[in-house]
């Protein structure tokens, strides 16, 4: 470890007329670690990006290289506008749309339902509070994967195969958002609800006027986490959508990478580009909301 305040001192040093300029090895070390870390994270993505610019034939021979080719527009066209299936409906564009519907629908649904439940648990005196608590929070860490077959049958029985509801709602059936909101609500000062009650606000008014606006950063953080989670779903959409116009990007990519196993020149360019396209919207969400995100997380821990 280097000095915890190296950055502070380093920063101030730039304004000091050099008395004895001390080389801040600590700060240099910090930057070195961060640069290596950033490379570790970013290089693979950059390589994938590079591979979308060169012809597939070249990729299968050499893999990623330093050449930047001219294949990008063509690959983009293929990825976005050409369907890989017979129906002609699973174009990148259409999959992008489905991914957005899944990501946003899931995030919003989860936030809404989670907030309501957490509100009931934290702010009401209830007879079956403990029971409700455990019924809900037992589901906290259990992902869909371990009960996916019976879930599929339930969705089918409800006639929700190949529908957005069928895609989204079963994924909502866990308590992560509820858990986060519960933690957050518990940290909201007690006096606010009291002040609001004296100000004549009932439970609904308090929720809408006070609690929801107060949870803004938390909602933003949740939105990011849930959007990314929903967007990145793979197994469930693969099961539940059998019609090509319902495919999401991640599921579509899997289908294209599977083709790599097939009998012709693997479509690396298209697959890689779709992979990049699949990354961009969630990254945008993360970067756009990042300050709120970090704030939401920090504050929720108070």
């Amino acid at each position: 470890m280097t000095e915890a305040n190296a950055g502070v001192i380093d920063h101030a040093a730039s304004h000091t007329p050099p008395r004895k300029r001390r080389i801040r090895w600590g700060a240099i070390g910090d930057h070195a670690v961060l640069i290596v870390g950033s490379l570790f994270m970013m290089l693979p993505l950059l390589m994938v990006l590079q591979m979308t610019t060169v012809p597939d034939v070249e990729v299968i021979k050499t893999g990623p290289s330093l050449t930047i080719g001219h294949q990008l527009p063509e690959n983009f066209d293929k990825a976005m506008f050409q369907a890989s299936g017979f129906s002609g409906q699973n174009t990148g564009l259409n999959m992008l749309k489905n991914s957005f519907i899944l990501g946003i629908g899931f995030a919003l649904g989860k936030i809404l339902i989670g907030m309501m439940a957490a509100y009931a648990i934290v702010y009401f005196r209830m007879r079956f509070a403990t029971l409700a608590f455990w019924v809900i929070f037992t589901t906290l860490l259990l992902p869909l994967e371990v009960r996916i077959l019976p879930s599929y049958e339930v969705v089918q029985k409800l006639g929700m195969l190949n529908t957005y509801q069928g895609l989204i709602i079963p994924l909502i059936a866990s308590a992560t958002a509820t858990f986060f909101f519960r933690q957050f609500f518990r940290s909201v000062p007690e006096e606010l609800v009291e002040a609001a009650r004296i100000d004549g606000a009932g439970p609904v008014k308090f929720f809408i006027d006070i609690l929801v606006p107060l949870s803004r950063t938390m909602i933003a953080a949740m939105f990011i986490i849930m959007f990314v989670y929903g967007w990145n779903q793979y197994l469930w959409p693969t099961m539940i959508t059998t019609e090509e116009d319902m495919f999401t990007l991640v599921r579509g990519i899997k289908q294209i990478t599977q083709v790599l196993e097939g009998n012709r020149i693997p479509e690396y360019g298209r697959a890689n580009l779709l992979a990049i396209i699949a990354i961009i919207p969630p990254v945008m969400v993360v970067i756009f909301f990042q300050s709120w995100f970090v704030k939401g997380l920090t504050e929720s821990d108070k």
Partner: protein
């Protein structure tokens, strides 16, 4: 217009051809419309079909591969036997129209055809003509020849002699048929799931894998992983001189513009095991008409099957992909068209399937066979990486496979 769907596992160039067939069918008449959907690997397609069937959302046609035959045929009521389907809808059906190798693999124990053979393949030996020339050898007919003549020469010439793409299919199932060895009790499982035991733990198999491991150690053979293309790629790259793959890969290989000339011939056999090598099992998959559909739709399915078995369709499919033509008529058409004069290797698959049949070459029928293949793959991987001995591996395969067969038998009540 009646719409029907068809779930298949044909990716890449194969998928394009499937789509072509569908388009042709849709264009050929106005009463029916078929939509093919690519569902992933053979295993995934089968699972998707089963799950959908349980949900009542099954497609009209499901492509099921050889290893899934027991599952789908065992579930009476899941499918409409194609023979019935065709006959009920007034399509003429004569099993003798089909080439001998494909007739009974997807039939029940009475010989009624349940699944419609569609993409029938056979494991064949592809070779790099340039490499063999360079090494001054001809394609080996027997494994003895391979290990004493071909491989050392190829190694000398800077090649790895051999790779293959599906250990259970090529080095196990077809090993049994080629050498006419019993693969399972109960007539290779055809007589019913109850009491069927796998017979893979035999001396010929063990000797074979002992040899393969030995080849690998000597640099005559290489194994690049369980994935199909893992082992195909080095052949395409010219590193490996001989590759055992599916006749269905022929189309893809031809389209790839490889930097060397390639050809194909029969799968080698051990002279020490048999002097009279037999035909191989058909590989690939068949199309099943799923039950629970309206008569109208079944009619459409029958019409499609009829279209599919037309010599023209079969020949086109055969030409584009390398899968064998399933009817004699189509085979004749290909011959007449001079297809084999242009590409002699394209005929290898069908010729191999037309070799003399033996007592045990009709096919095999084992439940939970996908898992049994997984067990084989796992144990073979361990043999080849030196993690286990051939003896232990086969003991394991036998035990686990038999346990699975027993479990499967219990599901069939």
């Amino acid at each position: 217009e009646v719409e029907i769907t068809w779930w298949h596992a044909m990716g890449g160039a194969l998928g394009d051809t499937v789509n072509q067939i569908a388009e042709d069918f849709n264009a050929s008449q106005d009463d029916y419309k078929i939509t093919p959907v690519f569902k992933g690997t053979y295993e995934e397609t089968l699972t998707a079909g089963i799950a959908a069937f349980r949900a009542g959302e099954q497609p009209n046609i499901l492509q099921v591969f050889d290893a899934g035959a027991a599952t789908v045929i065992g579930a009476k009521g899941a499918t409409v036997p194609v023979q019935d389907l065709l006959q009920d809808n007034g399509v003429e059906f004569n099993i003798e129209d089909y080439i001998s190798g494909v007739r009974y693999f997807y039939a029940d124990s009475d010989g009624k055809m349940i699944g419609m053979p569609f993409n029938s393949s056979s494991p064949i030996m592809y070779y790099n003509v340039d490499a063999l020339e360079k090494a001054g050898v001809t394609p080996p007919k027997t494994w003895e020849e391979f290990q004493t003549v071909t491989a050392p020469a190829l190694k000398e010439a800077g090649y790895i002699g051999l790779s293959q793409s599906h250990l259970p299919w090529i080095f196990t199932e077809n090993f049994h048929s080629r050498h006419d060895l019993p693969f399972a009790t109960n007539d290779n499982g055809y007589e019913g799931a109850e009491g069927t035991k796998i017979l893979v733990n035999n001396d010929a198999m063990k000797a074979h894998f002992t040899a393969v491991k030995d080849w690998k150690d000597k640099g005559f053979f290489e194994w690049y992983g369980t994935g199909w293309s893992d082992n195909q790629t080095p052949f395409e790259e010219g590193k490996v001189a001989i590759w055992l793959g599916s006749s269905g890969s022929f189309g893809g290989l031809s389209k790839k513009d490889l930097p060397f000339e390639f050809s194909a011939t029969f799968l080698p056999y051990w002279e020490s095991v048999t002097k009279e090598p037999k035909q191989t099992f058909i590989g690939g998959a068949a199309l099943f008409a799923m039950a629970g559909k309206s008569d109208e739709e079944n009619k459409a399915t029958a019409a499609f099957f009829e279209f599919l078995t037309k010599p023209e369709t079969q020949y086109m499919w055969h030409r584009e992909t390398g899968y064998v033509p399933i009817t004699t008529a189509a085979y004749e058409m290909a011959k007449a068209d001079g297809h084999y004069d242009r590409a002699p290797a394209a005929e290898v698959g069908i010729k191999q399937l037309s070799l003399p049949a033996g007592k045990h070459t009709k096919g095999y029928r084992m439940g939970f066979y996908v898992q049994i293949r997984d067990v084989m793959n796992r144990e073979y991987g361990r043999i080849l990486t030196g993690e286990t001995s051939v003896e232990d591996a086969f003991n394991n395969i036998e035990t686990e496979a038999n346990a699975l067969l027993e479990r499967f038998a219990k599901t069939q009540n």
